[in-house]
């Protein structure tokens, strides 16, 4: 069974969002998503400083199987990216919620956070997609 920590928010497209409480969030992909993708071998991250809107394609993760677009769950400005992933994309498989984070974002619209799913709703969403 995939690990879906409480306290995070989740998007339908399998990104997780951690509210850092200071107007910034950290974004990654869920354990369920990395399991579906298989071993990750390449990550293309956005540039720090770029402005993005919720739903924008802003990163690409490629596994041994396929390339997969990552969508920004929220609008804002990219603050930082996880440079470790350039050399160690497998961090996403090993630790999707800690070492495998993708980028941090200064959000522009806090209400977008409320539209995301909690852990229970996301678990159900992921199960529905499987069947």
């Amino acid at each position: 069974m995939s690990n879906t920590p409480d306290g995070l928010k989740y998007a339908k497209t399998h990104e997780w969002v951690k509210d850092n409480g200071d107007g910034t969030v950290t974004v990654g992909i869920s354990d369920h998503a990395q399991e579906l993708l298989g071993d990750l071998v390449f990550v293309e991250l956005p540039e720090a400083g770029s402005d993005i809107a919720a739903g924008d394609e802003i990163a690409v993760v490629e596994s041994v199987k396929a390339a997969s677009d990552i969508y920004s769950p929220l609008s804002g400005k990219i603050l930082g990216i996880n440079e470790v992933l350039n050399d160690a994309p497998e961090s996403i498989n090993d630790s999707p919620y800690e070492e495998g984070w993708l980028f941090t974002l200064k959000i522009t619209d806090k209400s977008e956070l409320d539209a995301l799913m909690d852990a229970d709703a996301y678990t159900k969403h992921a199960q529905d997609e499987e069947h």
């Binding site: 399991e35 298989g38 071993d39 071998v41 390449f42 293309e44 690409v60 490629e62 041994v64 199987k65 396929a66 390339a67 350039n86 497998e90 498989n93």
Partner: protein, 363 residues
């Protein structure tokens, strides 16, 4: 409903991620495709390849029939147990399938064809029998396990019965031994040493479990694909199909145009293509920068499209992306691949990329 091999429940019990493949429910990996890949390069791993179709051909005309049916010449098989890789062509020289044929005796040959093309192949093989005295016997009663890797043979031998073990220990590459129920061939699809074992379905799960107990790692079709790509082995449906000839698919070495009097299906078309010039070739590619080469990505030289990738992916052994590609004949310089709207430089290299665990080309 996808078909299930005799090992299907075993795969589920091992926690495999299952996918549909050629009409079968097959394991793509059991946790980590990359670790499975390394297990075969460095130690030993095994695949359930029971979805592949085993066909026995029996009768006094077997040899004559196969010399007509196949682009390679079974006449090269001088002693029993020897194996030959060949394409089976249509009259236009297109590849219906690639296969391995084993010479069992003067009236018995065994062939193994791909799962996804099995029905088409059987139809074609039966259709071509015509007046030849040949019986076509699909062996759906048998299962097949491929054990591959530098330790594969050493770990497998103790699990064979005594008589078979002694004979299998002496096997040369591309040859096989058998008893009335088991068949052991020193063949594979990974670029490593190992065995392919064809056996009654009833014996299969026990052998799989014994191999696992001996330290042979279960590996899925995902690792099988990256291993064969590194080994520079074509995959039917990707690197060649009915619209391409073996000559334009890097498989010229499998076409026996000599002796000239052997008239096999597709011969005329191949001779014509050879005379007029083979328009395309299969080459190896290495991506110089970051990213992953994938099939159908387009290739350019000096802004002119010269072909596309037929098989691409990440090479766990080389830790970079490699591919096979079909491009115009010639030696192009400055080849770029188009990846998500961007052009990135690739290097054209000789393949195989990897053999027996080591780099086999110049990067």
């Amino acid at each position: 409903m996808d078909k299930k091999t005799i090992l299907n429940q075993t795969h589920h019990d091992l926690g495999a991620r299952m996918v549909p493949f050629g009409g079968w429910d097959m394991p793509v990996h059991y946790g980590s495709q990359i670790e499975e890949h390394h297990a075969i390069r460095q130690h030993a791993g095994m695949f359930d390849v029971s979805h592949m179709q085993i066909i026995d051909l029996k009768g006094s005309d077997c040899k004559r029939y196969l010399r007509h049916l196949l682009a390679n010449d079974v006449g090269k098989l001088k002693s029993t147990g020897r194996a030959l890789y060949s394409c089976m062509l249509n009259s236009q020289g297109g590849v219906i399938d690639d296969l391995i044929v084993y010479f069992m005796d003067e009236t018995w040959y065994r062939i193994v064809v791909n799962a996804s093309t099995a029905q088409k192949d059987l139809g074609w093989i039966m259709e071509q029998v015509g007046v030849f005295g040949v019986e076509v016997l699909p062996r759906s009663d048998m299962a097949m396990i491929a054990v591959q890797g530098p330790k594969a043979i050493e770990l497998t031998l103790p699990l064979l019965n005594e008589e078979l073990r002694e004979a299998a220990a002496e096997l040369k590459p591309f040859s096989a031994v058998w008893d009335p129920s088991w068949f052991v061939a020193r063949t594979g699809y990974t670029g490593e040493d190992g065995f392919e074992i064809l056996l009654p379905q009833g014996d299969c799960v026990a052998l799989w479990n014994d191999l696992a107990d001996a330290g042979v790692r279960p590996c899925g079709l995902g690792a099988r694909d990256t291993l064969r790509l590194e080994a520079g082995m074509n995959l039917y449906g990707q690197d060649m199909d009915e619209t391409t000839t073996p000559l334009a698919s890097g498989l010229g070495w499998t076409v026996a145009l000599k002796p000239e009097e052997r008239s096999f299906i597709g011969r005329g078309a191949l001779e014509k293509q050879k005379k007029e010039g083979i328009p395309q070739q299969l080459v190896g590619l290495v991506l110089e920068g970051r990213g992953i080469l994938r099939s159908h990505q387009k290739l350019y030289a000096a802004d002119k499209q010269i072909g596309e990738i037929t098989s691409g992916g990440f090479s766990p052994t080389l830790e970079r992306s490699i591919a096979l590609a079909r491009i115009e004949t010639g030696s192009p310089h400055g080849v770029d691949v188009e990846m998500r709207g961007k052009r990135l430089p690739v290097k054209v290299v000789k393949y195989p990329f990897v053999r027996h665990g080591k780099l086999a080309t110049k990067l």
